[in-house]
Symmetry: C2
Subunit: 219 residues, 2 copies
DNA sequence: TTCTATTTTTAGATTAGACTAAAAATTATA
DNA sequence: TATAATTTTTAGTCTAATCTAAAAATAGAA
C-alpha cells in the first residue's frame, strides 16, 4: 500500500502536528527524521500528489484525513507491538522501540486485529502512550509534565515524553515506572530542579528529567 | 546487516540447493524468485563479493558456510513466526506464509531468542517443515512423498511440499493435516493417482496431490 | 565436430529515495 | 523599506534493485 519511507514520513508529521499545533515545516520534518530538507521536499510533494497531505510551497504541510488515518495506523501497530514485546516476550521498556520501528511496517490487517485481541485490546503502550483505536482515534488523557506541578502536590507517573534507553534506564535506577506515585517536596525556580519523594526515598531531579515525565495529579 | 533483497536471494538459493543437490543455476533462481535472469546475475555478483556464495561465470552458484548461516537464520525466523501466528494468534496454516515473509526480515537477535522461548522452542513449523536451530542446522527427518509409498502401506502425514493456500485448503476439505494417518488402498500406475483411506473415509487423489504430501511410514 | 538452441552475462535505462550545491522565497533586522 | 539571514525549493548526482535488448558462452543435435 505505502512504502516504508512514506509511512515513516506520515508518522513523523503526525507526531509533529500533535507537538506543535498547525502546519509542520520542512525543516522540522527534516530534523525529526534526521534527514535533509531537500529530501523532505521531494517526499512531501509525492505525498501531496497522493492526497495524504496538503502542501503549498514554502508554507509547510498538513495531513489530510486519509494521511492521519494512515499515520495513526502505523502508530497503532508500533504501540501494539511494544505491548507484545514487553508483556509476552518480557522485554524491558527501554529495549522495545527499535524493534517496534520495524514491526510497525508489517502489512496485514488481520494480523493487527488478532494481535490486539491476543493482548487484550490494551489502551496504552509500555511508555504510557495511548494506542490509537482501529479508526485512528487517539484517546485524550489529561496528563501534565512533572515540571508543571507545584510544590507539595503529588501525581502518578502515567508516561514519558522521551523514551530513549538512557532516560528509561535512569528512571529504573530511581525506581520510577508507570503507576509510581511521586510527591514534589521542593522546587527551585532558578533552574527548575526539584526534590521529589518516590516511595520512601527522597532525591533531587533536574528540570530535564521533570519535563520528560508525565503525571496525572489526583484531587 | 543484509538488505531485504539479499536475504531473499540467499533464502531462495538455500532452498534450491536442498531441492536439487549441487550448484544452482541463474535461471533456476530467477524462476523461483519470479524475476529476470539478468537481475539474478547482478545480485549473485554482489553476494559473491560479500563472500556469501561462490560464483564462476556461466557455472551457477553455491552458498558459502556464511551464506548458509544467513539463509538458515532467515528461514528459522520465518518458521518461528509461522508457529507464533498459528499457535498464539489462531491463524490457519494457509494464512501465515505471506505475513511470515515480512516478519522474517525483522532484525533483532534478542527478539528471536525470546520468541523461540515463548513458543517453547518448537522443532517444526505449521506445515511440518523443520525449524533450523540457532546455528543454522536443519534437523534431518526421514520423510517420503506419499506418491513414493506402496499399496497397502500406511504413513502419518508429517508435512507438505507445497504450501499454497489452495493446496492447504484442499487438504482441510479432505480432513488431512499434520499427524493424520493415511493408508494407500490402491495405486494407478498409468497416472500415479491413488485411492487412500483417511479416518473412516476412502477417496481418490491425483498424483499431483500425492507428490506434495510428506509422510513417515511406520514399521 | 559444427551448427543451433539455450543459458547466462553485459550494457544501458528506470525508479525510489537520498544527497550536495545553488537558486528562490520568506522572514527578520537595521 | 532595503538588506541580511533563514528557510525552502530546484537541479543534478548517487546507489540499490530492477528491467529490456543484445552479446557471449555453453550445451545439445545432426
Amino acid at each position: 500500500m505505502f512504502t516504508l519511507a512514506e509511512e515513516n514520513y506520515l508518522k513523523a508529521i503526525f507526531h509533529l502536528e500533535h507537538e506543535f499545533q498547525g502546519e509542520v515545516s520542512t525543516n522540522a520534518i527534516a530534523e525529526s527524521m534526521e534527514t535533509k530538507p531537500s529530501s523532505v521536499t521531494d517526499m512531501i510533494q509525492k505525498l501531496a500528489e497522493k492526497k495524504l497531505l496538503t502542501y503549498k510551497r514554502y508554507k509547510g504541510v498538513q495531513l489530510t484525513a486519509e494521511g492521519k488515518k494512515v499515520a495513526a495506523n502505523v502508530i497503532r501497530k508500533h504501540r501494539l507491538w511494544e505491548v507484545f514485546l514487553v508483556e509476552k516476550l518480557s522485554f524491558h521498556w527501554d529495549q522495545v522501540h527499535e524493534i517496534a520501528e520495524q514491526l510497525e511496517h508489517i502489512q496485514s490487517e488481520e494480523l493487527i486485529i488478532r494481535l490486539d485481541k491476543f493482548l487484550g485490546s490494551p489502551e496504552f503502550d509500555p511508555h504510557g502512550d495511548p494506542i490509537p483505536d482501529k479508526h485512528g482515534v487517539l484517546k485524550r488523557t489529561e496528563k501534565k509534565l512533572l515540571s508543571e506541578i507545584d510544590k507539595n502536590q503529588k501525581g502518578v507517573c502515567v508516561g514519558v515524553k522521551e523514551s530513549s534507553p538512557e532516560f528509561l534506564q535512569y528512571l529504573d535506577k530511581k525506581k520510577i515506572s508507570i503507576g509510581t506515585k511521586i510527591r514534589v517536596l521542593g522546587k527551585e525556580f532558578f533552574d527548575g530542579s526539584m526534590i521529589i519523594q518516590v516511595g520512601s526515598e527522597q532525591f533531587f531531579i533536574s528540570h530535564k528529567i521533570a519535563e520528560n515525565l508525565y503525571v496525572q495529579t489526583q484531587e
